[in-house]
Amino acid sequence: MKWDEFFVTGDPMIYGADVSIVLTMVGILFYLTKYNKWKWLWDEWLTTVDHKKLGIMYIVSAVLMLFRGGVDALLMRTQLAVPEAKFLDSQHYNEIFTTHGTIMIIFMAMPFLIGLINVVVPLQIGARDVAYPYLNAVSFWTFFIGAMLFNISFVIGGSPSAGWTSYMPLASNELSPGPGQNYYLLGLQIAGIGTLLTGINFLVTILKMRAPGMTLFRMPMFTWSSLVTMVIIIFAFPILTVALALMTFDRLFGSHFFTLQGAGMDMLWANLFWLWGHPEVYIVILPAFGMFSEIISTFSRKTLFGYKAMIWSMLLIAGYSFLVWVHHFFTMGSGALVNSVFSITTMAIGIPTGVKIFNWLFTMYRGKIQFTTPMLWSLGFIVNFVIGGVTGVMLAMAAADYQYHNTYFLVSHFHYVLIAGTVFACFAGLIYWYPKMFGYKLNERIGKWVFWVFTIGFNVCFFPQYFLGLDGMPRRVYTYSEESGWGPLNMVSTIGGFMMGIAFLILVYNMYYSFRYAKRETTGDAWDGRTLEWSTPTAMPPFYNFAKIPEVTGLDHFWRQKQAGKVEKLKAEDIKPIHMPSNSGVPFIMASFFFVAGFGMVFDWMWMAIAGIIGVFGTLFYRSFEYDDGYYVSVEEVIETEKISK
């Protein structure tokens, strides 16, 4: 490896990025040192095992990644705004759409949702933390380190450029040499470990840690959606682990799973990738469905319509999610029978999804609808997601898909489901639970601006792309000719893209504005909510969540208590010492070793990789010998905390 291969050079944008990275780092170090925040950072954040703090860190990372992925998107839209633009060259463009896709799915959508799940689910089921708080910290830090490893690629070594699907043999050493593709493999692999652990952790949490009286069919819909999501994660992520490992072996150790030589099979990669990839789509959409269920019910001031149908449809979707992966490559020539079967299973997913849409609509029916910002996002979701849904059914029709495949029609479709579904949900959920995390609401007036600018921008950006697709514009081209006639619609699309960028900036401004000026909440029930997370006496729950574990008597227990005027007041004699887990720095250190190992593998420096792996095992064994059973919060401290907060 020579220096010119190590540092990415020659592009003013890259130098700009180099400078801003260094400046930000220096700024952070300076701030921490000057205000003596190192200890605070370590004690409160780096070593925390509190699900609420981990959730907040997930969300903060996801918002940063949304920024990164969004900048990628705007660079692409700028390049495509006019025909034969010279803004980006082909290689640079390829790197950008690869990182855009990977970051948005793996490092933005999933952590955003997992962050909200972290904050909300334990509170919703009346638990004091998750089943394995320590493991939860390991999950977060491996995700974070995986994301960082992937992100440094654009200044060190060069980013992957084979697409987020990384089809072989294009992604092989022979056609894409160098560290770029390795970053993809190792970044995803390390983050994937965290996701799998989250899956196990929250499945056990939801199954075993619910408050007394909360049977499965009394769980809030968001908790249900999280439960189903975790099951999908547990069975889907090992497939990704294997697929990534096999490609890593192909690239680093000369095996022949997917290569041109040695009778490797490129189609196997496509199959493995989508065997994980399609369930992954439902991993990022089901929690969104759950959030919309909560929000629509809260702001219609009405019970969710068809609670059981909502659950069964979700279980059906989860099952189907493993039976449709071939629709990502109907054009591979698998034969009429295979394509027919997968066409029908894919269309069949539309059935439970349609049922959900109608149930949401009828949750509002005979309700009292309040147009708060979370509710606006939910309504926007219904209106826009349906477009993504129906075009999804069109794509499922294999014979027609031969014409849509690899075009902007497809690009538009998946942005309509992923943005109108997942991103709208992330925004809605963030705003809805913001007071739970920070003790005040985001400003509603500015929030409505964000909603309208974003939603209109989103439609302006992606709706024309359906027509570009039907006009034969393939995805992933870095430019197009004047004669193609795709110029005007692309320009429109770019304008929409920048509107979404502006909306993001307004959102960030809103966070700042609300931090400065928002009225602080005085109760835990900012929206007149229905579920247990709103039942804590303080706006932000104390670190042990509930001084006394609530006893649940039915669905929407808290709401019914309020209706009956029977909200329990906490009495001092009810309080018992509370057992809590201790903080630990080991997860952070372990993740750091993962970084060392990952970086070593990326550059094929085996000594470094081995050192990192030894470090990882060292921390594992250290933890095994560490007998820390946590500690007890005394009754006095609980009374003190609860009183102060009154």
Binding site: K302, S343, V390, V393, A399, A400, F463, G472
Partner: protein
């Protein structure tokens, strides 16, 4: 409902867009039976989808308007939690829609596996299409000729494409003639297409294949049977033979101009059974793929851009007669 106005306006715009744009969009303007069948299926589904959108939007607008929170609010029923009748209805309706869409879909899937119905009794013209980063090699085994980056086909006769690739996974697509299919190394896939009208149609690889993907294109010229036969025999008689050395050079990643030969590479290699050939050829020529950001890669890129420029110049100079030889 004031708040939803933008959505309706937008819906209206979308409909206008759609109706006015239909005939212009090439996928909806097919020039052969395969594309036509797909166009019909697409339009059939679009009407369904517009109907679904209409129902959902009307219902949304009605409910959101009627049950918004206001003074003198009527009909509020906080415990209304379901209705077996309604829920049964919206389980059944999507099922019916899925069935209605599945039947024509499955029919089309099966019919597209073979030659078009209208020309079933004709013997299809067989063409081997091989993708090499970032060019297309077309072999006509019966005529024993080979072209690069352009195709001549007779009209009104089915063409059976036997697709394969020398390296990356590509997808062979001529939108106006019909849908695409993958071309993969060590594999052979088959695709029937047919042109009903004479003319030049754009074809391309639509599956991402790396740096030169954007210009991984070719032209398809559909002509009368007689013209095609004439072109084929003239090519056989006058075009140069394809040598192994020349073919090796085609295996290097890059763009080349249109070429014509009076023999095919099928004489010594079929990439459908030999996936390693292109890599071996690169090794024979001492070519090695560079790390994208390295100095070496930048130099190579510069070289490629110059070649591309020359190529475009020579194309525009010789345009018109380039297909004649």
């Amino acid at each position: 409902m004031r708040r939803l106005k933008p959505f309706f306006t937008f819906g209206l715009l979308m409909a206008v867009f759609m109706l006015s744009g239909c005939s212009d969009m090439i996928v909806l303007d097919p020039k052969g039976p395969v594309g036509a069948e797909q166009r019909d299926l697409i339009m059939y589904s679009i009407w369904f989808m517009l109907f679904i959108l209409l129902v959902v939007y009307a219902l949304t607008a009605f409910i959101v308007y009627k049950y918004r929170d206001r003074k003198n609010h009527k009909g509020y029923d906080p415990d209304n939690e379901g209705s077996h009748l309604l829920e049964t209805i919206w389980w059944i309706i999507p099922i019916i829609i899925v069935i209605a869409l599945s039947i024509p879909t499955v029919k089309s899937i099966y019919s597209l596996e073979g030659p078009p119905e209208e020309s079933k009794d004709q013997k299809p013209l067989v063409i081997h299409a091989t993708s090499v980063n970032w060019k297309w090699v077309f072999s006509y085994p019966e005529q024993d000729i080979e072209t690069v980056n352009y195709l001549h086909i007779p009209e009104d006769r089915p063409v059976l494409f036997k697709l394969t690739s020398a390296d990356s996974m590509a997808s062979f697509w001529v939108p106006q003639l019909g849908g695409q299919k993958y071309a993969m190394a060590g594999m052979e896939t088959e695709l029937y297409l047919q042109a009903d009208e004479q003319g030049t149609y754009e074809g391309r690889n639509s599956n991402f294949t790396g740096e030169g993907f954007t210009n991984h294109t070719f032209d398809v010229m559909a002509m009368s049977d007689a013209e095609f036969e004439k072109w084929a025999s003239e090519t056989k008689a006058h075009a140069p033979e394809l040598s192994k050395g020349q073919y090796d050079k085609l295996m290097l990643p890059g763009h080349v101009k249109e070429m014509t030969f009076s023999s095919t590479h099928l004489d010594w290699v079929d990439h459908a059974t030999n996936a390693e050939y292109a890599l071996d050829a690169r090794e024979r020529l001492g070519y090695e793929e560079k790390i994208p950001h390295s100095r070496a890669a930048k130099e190579e890129k510069k070289k490629r851009e110059e070649e591309m420029k020359k190529l475009e110049e020579s194309e525009s100079e010789s345009h018109g007669d380039s297909h004649a030889h």
